[in-house]
């Protein structure tokens, strides 16, 4: 699937400062529907900060983050939305959101952006199945009549809960953890916890899945399995994936598009093949020979 899909996420002139440190400096990029976009860069480049801005955990100082559900024509209204001061425009055919205006839980609930964390954040004392049910909280909450009807055990809630369990069972089957459904998440091996966290994010029915270093700490075989899982999620669930990753075997193999950050600045944006031969990227990752430093610095703009 080459570039050219509809734009799903548009990050424009994003800047985030922590005191005197500029973590992200005027960053703009796009992610397309049905594509895997990788965000790479050396340690401290600001990748996770970008994620935290997109998912509402941080409020960026300047810039806007637009996300469009199913109706690309709505993009033309983004400026109107920005001017109106509202969070979103909802039309029967789709919806347009300005994520930096929304609190984190609404980014997940309404704009349907799911995420995983660099240091795994499962609920360790709850079973794998319970973890996946918590992810379906809002739908179940509605079915239980905001708890009031659920206390009396109305049948429609029981049906909704059965459906939620079936969905969780499907995902457990997909990530190969069906046999361990009733074991606490904290007891699972590291690689399984990573996959369970991805399954939990998928149970929220996202349109955009943000994965923060999903391959960290995995061995080569587990990484290969992860690649397969991510590709199958992209093709079967028709969702987009935004990926932070250091493992180049994952990035180069599955990404449709790669954005490279260094010191909060975007230094390259293109297909994996383009990125691989980009001199700025090579310089950022490997450094350059002494006599070229001045030239490269001028080029990078430092």
């Amino acid at each position: 699937m080459a570039a050219g899909g509809d734009t799903l996420l548009r990050v424009e002139h994003l800047t985030m400062r922590f005191g005197g440190l500029i973590a992200i400096d005027d960053l703009s990029f796009e992610a397309h529907k049905g594509e895997i976009t990788a965000l790479i860069g050396p340690n401290g480049a600001g990748k996770t900060t970008v994620f935290n801005c997109i998912t509402g955990f941080y409020k960026p100082h300047t810039g806007r983050i637009g996300l469009c559900h199913s109706e690309p024509a709505l993009w033309s209204e983004l400026d109107a939305l920005t001017g109106s001061g509202r969070r979103s425009i909802k039309k029967p055919g789709g919806a347009l959101f300005q994520l930096e205006r929304m609190p984190d839980f609404l980014v997940a609930d309404e704009a349907r952006v799911a995420r995983t964390f660099q240091n795994i954040r499962l609920f360790p004392g709850m079973t794998a199945l319970e973890n996946l049910l918590v992810a379906q909280h809002n739908r179940l909450m509605l079915a239980s009549g905001y708890t009031l009807l659920g206390i009396f055990g109305i049948p429609s809630y029981r049906a909704a809960e059965r459906a939620a369990i079936d969905k969780a069972r499907d995902w457990l089957d997909r990530i190969g953890l069906l046999a361990r459904a009733d074991d606490p998440a904290g007891d699972l091996p590291y690689g399984d916890q990573r996959r369970l966290e991805i399954a939990r994010a998928m149970c929220t029915d996202p349109v955009l899945l943000c994965l923060d270093e999903p391959a960290a700490g995995l061995n080569p075989r587990e990484s290969a399995d992860l690649n397969k899982l991510l590709l199958s999620i992209r093709s079967e669930c028709a969702i987009s994936i935004l990926l932070i990753e250091h493992d180049m075997s994952v990035v180069m193999e599955i990404s449709d598009r790669v954005v490279v950050l260094d010191y909060g600045v975007k230094i390259a944006d293109g297909t994996p093949a383009q990125i691989r031969s980009d001199t700025k990227v090579i310089a950022a990752y490997l450094g350059v020979a002494d006599q070229d430093v001045a030239k490269v610095e001028a080029e990078v703009g430092l």
């Binding site: 609404l106 997940a108 954040r121 609920f123 004392g125 379906q136 659920g150 994010a201």
Partner: protein, 464 residues
């Protein structure tokens, strides 16, 4: 064996030194506490008396106890720790499973027939204290423990001011019943609503706090409520409290000796025990309602969200859970049950004053929850029985007066015994009596979850 003897001798020297040191510390501590006593003599003059024989006896007891511990118990503990884990668990587990399955029906059956057993044993006049002091008193605390368990055990929000909601419930009932003459059955839900309103009010400002900080603010809230009750004399009558609170009726039939009273209506001879038995079943029903609702809530999305919140708040937000609302519902529902218990308390006592709602009450309820094992309803019930029943039993130990003299009052040692119990618990079961978490849902098999995986609200999180 040559090397063993000197090392044993060295060990015994160490043991005696240790016991001596312990006795010395005990002596130092007990000298001001026990060694001296102030008494007022016949001329009403305060004089200092010494109690050195008692002091020496206690010091010797501590020293000998320490010696016995080092010589017998600690080697046994070491052997136990080094003993390989035997293949016993399967049979033991089965035994636990059977006990676990039959424990709850048996326990509920027992509390239902408890008044009959007491009546049969003690007769209608002797049974009042047993049903009132043991039955009703314990059940109030069981209910409060279960209510606080929602806030602390499930949602992981450490609340040190829980008694404030109990007070709101009690004063709501007392004031509304006295002023407007509403009946108990109208005011019970109303008191619950008012308490949960105050729960929300407390919840709003403390939403961002966790762990220790939350504990401090809730502690302050509890004191604020008590201070208002003391100082707003026009409304609450201050320290003097409110007396003559209407008693609950048997669906409109009062429990008194009149012609339209309960005994006369049902053609019975008048006894105060009828009211006590009625109150017993009332608080039993309220406590069982609390338990039933909690069990149901745990299996609903809101209950799972509470537990998820206890485990990891940031992950909850990333899954689209509104953590603000989730915390507020925990506060409100926990407070509601305290309000029910409070209005029952006011109706049972007939008199309330701010003295009943001190910080010590909050601490007792929290101790019940922590000792029972946070999140475990059975554990909380057992802890309530042990703590409140234990206090009541101390009042019954009259035979101790024959040993220690007529001045001896066992209830004076209540706090000492609590402290001892706490220390023992912290050594043996630091996370409470029942610590394993039961999953709310399962695919094939309900496996209980080891306590070390489950987070506790009391622990301030290091990360995030």
């Amino acid at each position: 064996m040559d090397g063993a003897t000197p090392s044993w001798r060295l060990d015994s020297v160490r043991v005696f030194k240790d016991a001596g040191l312990t006795a010395l510390i005990a002596f130092g501590l007990l000298l001001p506490l026990v060694g001296f006593q102030t008494v007022t003599d016949v001329r009403n003059v305060l004089i200092l008396q010494t109690r050195f024989p008692l002091l020496l006896a206690l010091t010797a007891a501590v020293g000998i106890g320490r010696l016995a511990y080092s010589l017998s118990i600690s080697p046994w503990l070491e052997r136990r720790a080094t003993r390989p884990v035997a293949a016993a668990p399967p049979t033991r587990f089965d035994w636990w499973a059977i006990a676990g399955r039959w424990f709850i029906p048996f326990a509920i059956g027992f509390v239902v027939v408890y008044p009959m057993i007491i009546l049969a044993m003690n007769g209608r006049s002797g049974a009042v204290t047993w049903i009132d002091n043991f039955g009703i008193q314990i059940l109030i605390y069981v209910m409060l423990g279960w209510g606080l368990n929602i806030v602390v055990g499930l949602a992981g929000l450490l609340d040190l001011g829980y008694v404030a909601f109990y007070a709101v419930g009690a004063y709501s009932y007392a004031l509304l019943a006295k002023t407007f003459g509403f009946s108990f059955w109208i005011l019970l839900p109303l008191a619950g609503c008012l308490s949960s309103f105050w729960g929300l009010l407390l919840g709003f400002p403390v939403l961002r706090l966790r762990g220790d900080y939350l504990a401090i603010v809730t502690l302050a809230f509890g004191e604020i409520i008590r201070m208002v009750l003391i100082n707003w004399v026009a409304l609450t009558n201050g320290y003097a409290g409110i007396s003559g609170i209407p008693r609950p009726t048997f669906f409109g039939v009062p429990f008194n000796a009149d012609d339209d009273g309960f005994a006369a209506t049902f053609g019975l001879e008048f006894f105060p025990i009828y009211r006590t038995v009625f109150l017993y079943y009332l608080i039993l029903a309220l406590a069982l309602l609390t338990a039933f609702v909690t069990v149901r809530l745990r299996r609903l999305p809101v209950g799972r969200a509470w537990e998820a919140l206890r485990e990891d708040e940031i992950a909850c937000r990333s899954l689209g859970i509104n953590t603000t609302n989730t915390k507020l519902t925990a506060f409100a529902i926990g407070a509601m049950f305290a309000g029910f218990a409070g209005s029952f308390f006011a109706a049972r006592q007939g008199f309330i004053s701010p003295e009943s709602f001190t910080f010590l009450e909050s601490a007792t309820i929290l101790a019940i929850v922590v000792l029972g094992g946070m999140g475990s309803q059975i554990g909380v019930a057992i802890a309530a029985i042990a703590m409140i029943g234990g206090t009541e039993i101390l009042r019954k130990l009259d035979f101790l007066k024959d040993i220690f003299g007529p001045d001896f009052d066992p209830t004076q040692y209540r706090m000492l015994l609590f402290g001892l119990g706490m220390v023992v618990m912290m050594i043996w079961r630091p996370r409470g009596l029942i610590t394993r978490r039961t999953p709310s849902v399962f695919l094939k098999e309900r496996k209980s979850i080891a306590p070390d995986l489950v987070k506790e609200g009391l622990v301030k999180e290091g990360s995030g």
